[in-house]
């Protein structure tokens, strides 16, 4: 069933720019700074071998997470990737359980069953971090469809990397969202790289997400993903339209990850000049300058940062103090009854009959 909404809803034609309120600006700053400091701490803990396995940091990309989250309603849904710490921080997941999950402790968000790549905070609408590229796009459609069917006016936001745009699920998802007019906003965090390969060296179009969106009659915009105001304002417009029944949109936010793809990847495959240029566009630095230009007192921003450090120190200590997961957890929550028993045990009636020799 295709719904024509073109008459009632203005298309999203370009990035939305402008000033945000002082309160919003400060909260964007706080979110970005928290995400940055949290991830730096996670990285330290990884180097100390306390965070095991792998982590994918979003350092440098905080403006996308902060800007979009600020535009969302608390009951909206987020679908994210394995590079997802930023997004949980931005939607208010408490830091201690988040850190504890990275440390594999029982006080972790998922009691150590998920780890860095599989963070989920259903209470805050974070319906999963997906480690198979592109999966979350089709799943996000389902949450959007459910909200549409239930009439709750919840919007689903789905984040993905530039690398996901060459996966079949991306194309299935975009077409599906348009024909069902779903309240979903797709946000591509285009950090120019997949793992170790530049996206433009393996992709036929320049803007891997936005250029394809038009093929599905899906409104798309390319924005500066390092500008939290632009992200916030553009996301607000797209989310408001989706909430009102105007259908899906796609935002391609161009940004840069400061570090490597994962673990301790030194990212030597990047041109030093390119790295330098992007470091100058670091959203923490540029946004701080903008705020000071708007009249914020640097001391006030320093105080925010100091407060965040204290908060992260406390969260780290709390996380480290957690016990290892109770070993019984290995077997729980495979099924909804809490267990994993694929074999049926004798039922009470059967057991009784067997005792009496009435049943085999």
């Amino acid at each position: 069933m295709s719904v024509d909404t073109s008459a009632a809803f203005a298309p999203l034609t370009g990035p939305v720019s402008g000033d945000v309120s002082e309160e919003t600006a400060l909260s964007l700053y706080r979110t970005m700074s928290t995400a940055r400091k949290f991830e730096k701490r996670a990285y330290d803990l990884f180097l100390q071998n306390l965070v095991k396995g792998t982590t994918h940091l979003g350092i440098g990309q905080e403006a996308v997470a902060a800007g979009v989250a600020a535009a969302m309603r608390p009951d909206d849904y987020s679908f994210i990737t394995y590079r997802g710490h930023n997004h949980l921080v931005a939607r208010g997941t408490p830091l201690a359980p988040l850190m504890a999950e990275l440390l594999g402790r029982d006080n972790g968000l998922m009691h150590g069953k998920g780890g860095s790549m599989h963070l989920i905070d259903a209470e805050r609408g974070i319906l999963g971090s997906y480690a198979i590229i592109g999966a979350q796009l089709v799943i996000a459609n389902g949450a959007a469809w459910s909200a549409q069917y239930r009439g709750t006016e919840q919007v689903t936001v789905c984040f993905f990397g530039d690398g996901a745009t060459n996966i079949g699920a991306f194309h299935e998802a975009l077409n599906f969202a348009v024909i069902w007019n779903l309240p979903v906003v797709f946000v591509c965090e285009n950090n120019l790289y997949m793992e170790y390969t530049r996206i433009d060296s393996v992709t036929a179009v320049q803007n891997p997400a936005a250029d394809r969106a038009s093929a599905y009659n899906l409104d798309s915009v390319v924005i500066d993903g390092n500008d939290p105001d632009e992200v916030y304002l553009t996301a607000s417009a797209a989310i408001a339209r989706a909430r009102a029944g105007g259908g899906p949109a796609l935002i391609e936010a161009v940004t840069y990850r400061h570090g490597g793809h994962s673990r301790a990847d030194p990212a030597k495959y990047r041109d030093p000049g390119e790295v330098r240029a992007w470091m100058e566009k670091d959203p923490m630095i540029t946004y701080r300058e903008r705020l000071i230009g708007r009249g914020f007192d640097p001391a006030e921003l320093d105080a925010v940062d100091a407060e965040i450090v204290t908060e992260i120190d406390a969260a780290t200590e709390e996380a480290k103090g957690g016990a290892w997961p109770d070993l019984s957890r290995l077997y729980t929550n495979v099924w909804s009854d809490g267990g994993h028993a694929w074999r049926t045990e004798p039922r009470a009636d059967q057991a009784a009959q067997q005792k009496e020799g009435l049943a085999p």
């Binding site: 319906l127 999963g128 459609n141 949450a143 998802a173 599906f176 694929w342 074999r343 049926t344």
Partner: protein, 328 residues
């Protein structure tokens, strides 16, 4: 007294649950306006409307993704994958997402959804439209796996699957669509239980364990074994591979001392191997001879009548294999 075909039972089972619970929605290719490629969902669109019975593009990943996202946010979707072979196209959703997310989130989200499909051979469709893939699904922790053999079970097990809070893969068998069953209680609500096998025929000499389209064949074989060779075989319809009714299966295997499984899927790693392994571990002392598996050879399925018939266990093959093993 109502006689229902297995084909009509599919729509009846879905409708029963949609009437009861408005969270139940249904989506798939050609399921709404066309009523299904096998006419298994005729009438659903008319009764429940286009918001609840939805045609989709040919996008298997999008279909299962939509079902998963809807299930984790309060609906109870039934998604159709037209032929079970096409699960291969959306395997990520089945093997990595729907099945694992409850565990990875340690129970923060549930996945009350059903994926139904046309499974199995016998219609001369060749290697890519005839597979029995229940073993694929069974190998993944987190899924439940159901395969009804009768029209009444299609209705009753669909009800159980829809009401279950776990993801259930529901294998309708294509070769059974035109089979019929008298269902006295069709006007009422029919609800079966997952994880409960049914003894279709009692017998003292051997136990035959079968699934879906192999159940009527096993029953026919049991009648012939009785009439022609004096062997009295019990026939168990497994119905649900996960959870598996081990008490009923092992109980009968122990009592009769002999165990035979009849599977349509290719031989390697078939579910029959799991049942044989269980029996040898748990009732070895009661067994009076080696358990025997009757399966399709480890081949892709051919299309020609003669070849397909040779591949799939036939009544004749069941009779001769069991007869020879029992020395009768």
């Amino acid at each position: 007294m109502t006689v229902l075909t297995y084909r009509k039972a599919v729509a009846h089972g879905i409708a029963q649950e949609m009437r009861r619970d408005e969270r139940v929605v249904f989506l798939g290719e050609d399921v709404a306006a066309a009523g299904g490629v096998f006419k298994t969902t005729a009438g659903l669109l008319e009764e429940f409307g286009p918001l609840r019975v939805r045609d989709t593009p040919i996008s298997e990943q999008a279909i299962l993704g939509a079902a998963m996202g809807a299930a984790m946010t309060g609906l109870r979707p039934i998604a159709e994958i037209m032929y079970s072979d096409f699960f291969a196209v959306c395997w990520d959703l089945v093997a990595n997402e729907i099945s694992k997310s409850r565990y990875m989130s340690d129970g923060q989200v549930s996945f009350p959804l059903v994926i139904q499909c046309g499974n199995g051979a016998g219609l001369r469709f060749g290697a890519q439209h005839s597979q029995s893939i229940e073993n694929w699904a069974m190998a993944i922790p987190g899924l439940k796996v159901v395969a009804p053999a009768t029209a009444r079970d299609v209705v009753g097990l669909m009800a159980a699957a829809v009401r279950d809070n776990d993801p259930v893969i529901f294998f309708n068998h294509k070769a059974l669509y035109s089979s019929k069953e008298e269902i006295p209680d069709l006007d009422g609500e029919i609800v079966e239980e997952l994880g409960r096998a049914v003894v279709r025929r009692e017998g003292e000499d051997a136990t035959i364990v079968a699934l879906a389209a192999m159940v009527p064949k096993a029953l026919e074989a049991a009648e012939r074994l009785h009439a022609e060779r004096g062997l009295d075989c019990a026939v168990i319809d497994v119905r649900s591979l996960v959870p598996l009714d081990t008490p009923t299966i092992l109980g009968h295997a122990s009592r009769t001392g002999r165990l035979f499984t009849v599977e349509e899927n290719p031989r390697l790693c078939g579910w029959g191997a799991e049942i044989v392994s269980l029996a040898t571990e748990e009732c070895w002392d009661a067994l009076t001879g080696a358990p025997v598996r009757i399966t399709t050879p480890h081949i892709p399925l051919p299309s020609a009548d003669a070849l397909e018939d040779l591949a799939i266990p036939s009544v004749e093959r069941i009779v001769t294999t069991i007869g020879a093993a029992m020395g009768a």
